[in-house]
């Protein structure tokens, strides 16, 4: 049976190289969307946002923002195509980006 949770994850770009990263449960930044902490409640989403601001102030990442996402059978994916592409890499160059290392999550950009 498919289980689905809707919420928000916090994403940013790593300052040094621009790599897309996601905030994890242990408040670290991971290149894998599946490591992202999915926040369901508005209150915890605000807390995520605060952590992002702290990380920006600490010069680890830049441009942190919340993204709508869902967890399906234990895997996380962004709901909007823009964020899915950001998570995976260009749909027209599947030899590039996170999709190559398999760190983009278990879903395609569309569908």
């Amino acid at each position: 049976m498919t289980t689905k949770e809707l919420g928000k994850i916090l994403t940013a770009n790593r300052l040094s190289d621009g790599e897309v990263v996601f905030l994890t449960r242990s408040a670290a930044w991971s290149e894998r969307i599946d490591d992202a902490v999915l926040s369901i409640e508005p209150q915890s989403q605000a807390a995520l946002q605060e952590k992002g601001e702290l990380a920006e102030a600490g010069n680890l990442v830049t441009g942190a923002y919340l993204v709508e996402a869902e967890r399906v059978n234990g895997y996380v994916r962004a709901t909007h195509i823009r964020e899915r592409i950001r998570t995976l890499g260009p749909t027209v160059r599947i030899d590039l980006g996170k999709q190559v290392e398999g760190t983009g999550g278990a879903f395609a950009a569309r569908g």
Binding site: N13, L15, G18, E19, G58, N59, I85, T91, G97
Partner: protein
């Protein structure tokens, strides 16, 4: 080609040093992102969807073989073995690391290149006809004036914080291949009856979310008055251009709001007031710059090559390529070779490091060390002996660079779109790819005739959809990509803005829709009519009827 003088080199080297310090301070945390962002943008470094993106300036689209070799090397050293040639005749790298950017800029400076003023509210890279100095119809090479404008506009203290970005294009030929009427300022060369060179000054054109055709501010401006007059336009814009709303800040909005006549009066009044500093350039200085662009040492050749004709007669593929991709040269015995970066199913404007090296080498061997980038996202070898065309074609073929579609339906302009761009609302490249597969048959394309299909992935119109004969604009409708189609745009001397045909389409339906439009034209055209002339004669209605009945 223009070579940096001591001042140019010093200024570019200094900028690398400054940026290295700025980036180090940012990485150490001494600068916040808010403080650093304008500094990185001044050096062409954006943060895009997947990583940092660096836009490198290619002034008026002219490159030497050494420079193109270096661009290839940079793509291998700092990126993922490819680069993307843009509609501003520049190149973009998509996977750049902030911590390596200063080293990259130093490698560029070493070959007289940089990324300065490829972003921000300043005067951007000056563009021109990609056949400049070679075109058979040209009055004179416009690049000396483009270079003059580059020097004047680089780090101009008064125009470094304009209301919005500012783009200038220059053409020296009656056939406008530089899209001068859709630029903030467009300059078009004319000759007086006595043969004196002057410039038609067009202002207030542009694309983006409010597309407009520029208005002629001066019919014929003597060349020596060019810089003071440009300065007068810039001052009027700088003073009156809106700074309260970025969407209304371009000069086109100012010209539209106050009207062309008032704008013209303001410019003339400002020009009459003059400047404290006389920036009019002496003929000697113009001649000094022009000397850098002196024609190469062409051989005296007949304008007919038996070898070329023989190969055309015996090799159908070569003949098709010559017909589509080779243009007449001003010098007898020479030809302009247009290299398509639009292979069937490919990504418009992308070239691998190996392909860049192949073209650099061809430039060295067959084109006096010169290569051009076109705003159609193709490359050009401007001066090739007709005798050598077959050899060039063979080498291009081996590098997947001999697609015979320049100026035809599958020579599609497309911005990076949602696959790379943080501003995009929909993908452009997959639409271009599926269309280029659908339209791949070269003989059919040649029968269709000249056709510009331009695709943008958002309203900012980097893919020039407004001036596509067929324009495609990708938008987001409740999280789904959909595409509006416009007809009747042109960036040539008959410039016009395309009009929306009707309701948009899902991405997968776009090829069918475009096919229907093309078939409608082919079915209704009269002998010798182009797509645009048929559209002008019959209007959009037959296309609407065909499109919305069949798709």
């Amino acid at each position: 080609m223009y070579r940096y003088d001591e001042f140019d080199q010093q200024f570019v080297d200094q900028r690398v040093t400054q940026f290295r310090e700025q980036a180090d301070r940012r990485l150490r945390g001494d600068l916040t992102e808010d403080e650093f962002k304008p500094l990185r943008l001044m050096n062409g470094l954006y943060l895009q969807l997947h990583a940092y993106m660096l836009r490198v300036a290619i002034p008026y689209g002219t490159l030497s073989s050494r420079q193109l070799d270096r661009l290839a090397e940079i793509s291998e050293k700092y990126d993922r073995n490819y680069g993307h040639f843009t509609t501003r005749q520049n190149i973009q790298y998509n996977w750049i690391k902030l911590e390596e950017t200063a080293d990259l800029l130093a490698d560029l400076a070493d070959v007289e290149m940089h990324a300065i003023q490829t972003s921000g509210n300043c005067i951007r890279n000056v563009t021109t006809d990609h056949w400049a100095g070679a075109a058979a119809d040209e009055l004179a090479d416009p690049r000396p004036v483009a270079e003059l404008i580059r020097q004047w506009s680089s780090l101009h203290p008064e125009f470094s914080f304009l209301p919005r970005k500012f783009k200038i294009a220059v053409t020296g030929a009656p056939a406008d291949r530089a899209a001068v009427k859709v630029h903030d300022i467009g300059l078009r060369m004319h000759l007086s009856e006595s043969g004196e060179r002057g410039w038609e000054v067009i202002a207030g054109g542009g694309q983006g979310r409010t597309p407009m055709i520029g208005v002629t501010v001066r019919e014929f401006l003597p060349e020596k008055e060019l810089l003071p007059y440009l300065e007068a336009i810039m001052r009027v814009y700088n003073l009156h251009g809106r700074r309260d709303n970025k969407y209304k800040a371009r000069i086109k909005i100012l010209v539209h709001e106050i009207g062309a006549d008032t704008f013209r009066d303001e410019v003339e009044a400002e020009y009459a007031r003059g400047s404290e500093i006389d920036i009019a350039v002496s003929q000697r200085e113009l001649d000094r710059i022009a000397a850098y662009f002196a024609p190469p040492q062409f051989e005296e050749l007949p304008n007919w090559s038996p070898r070329n004709e023989e190969h055309k007669a015996t090799n159908k593929e070569f003949a098709k390529w010559v017909r589509s991709n080779v243009a007449p040269h001003k010098q007898d015995g020479y030809a302009i070779v247009n290299i398509s970066l639009k292979p069937e199913g490919g990504i418009p404007g992308d070239a691998t490091a190996d392909q860049m090296r192949t073209v650099a080498d061809l430039g060295r061997r067959f084109s006096f060390d010169e290569i051009r980038v076109s705003h159609h996202q193709n490359l050009v070898l401007p001066h090739v002996r007709q005798e050598d065309l077959f050899d060039v074609w063979q080498i291009l073929s081996a590098a997947d660079l001999a697609t015979a579609n320049v100026g035809l339906a599958s020579d599609i302009i497309a911005c990076p779109g949602l696959d790379y761009c943080a501003l995009a609302t929909a993908r452009s490249i997959p639409v271009a790819q599926s269309l280029s597969r659908r339209l791949a048959d070269v003989e059919r394309q040649q029968d269709i005739g000249p056709l510009r299909i331009n695709i943008s992935g958002c309203i900012n119109a980097c893919g020039h959809h407004h001036v596509g004969h067929i324009g495609i604009l990708g938008l987001d409708k409740k999280g789904e990509e959909f595409y509006q189609i416009t007809l009747g745009g042109s960036s040539s001397e008959d410039a016009s803005i395309g009009k929306i045909l009707g309701p948009g389409f899902a991405g997968e339906d776009v090829p069918d829709a475009i096919e229907t439009i093309i078939n409608t034209y082919v079915g209704l055209r009269q002998p010798d009519e182009t797509f645009l002339s048929t559209l002008k004669r019959i209007g959009a209605q037959p296309f609407k009827e065909a499109l919305y009945e069949t798709v």
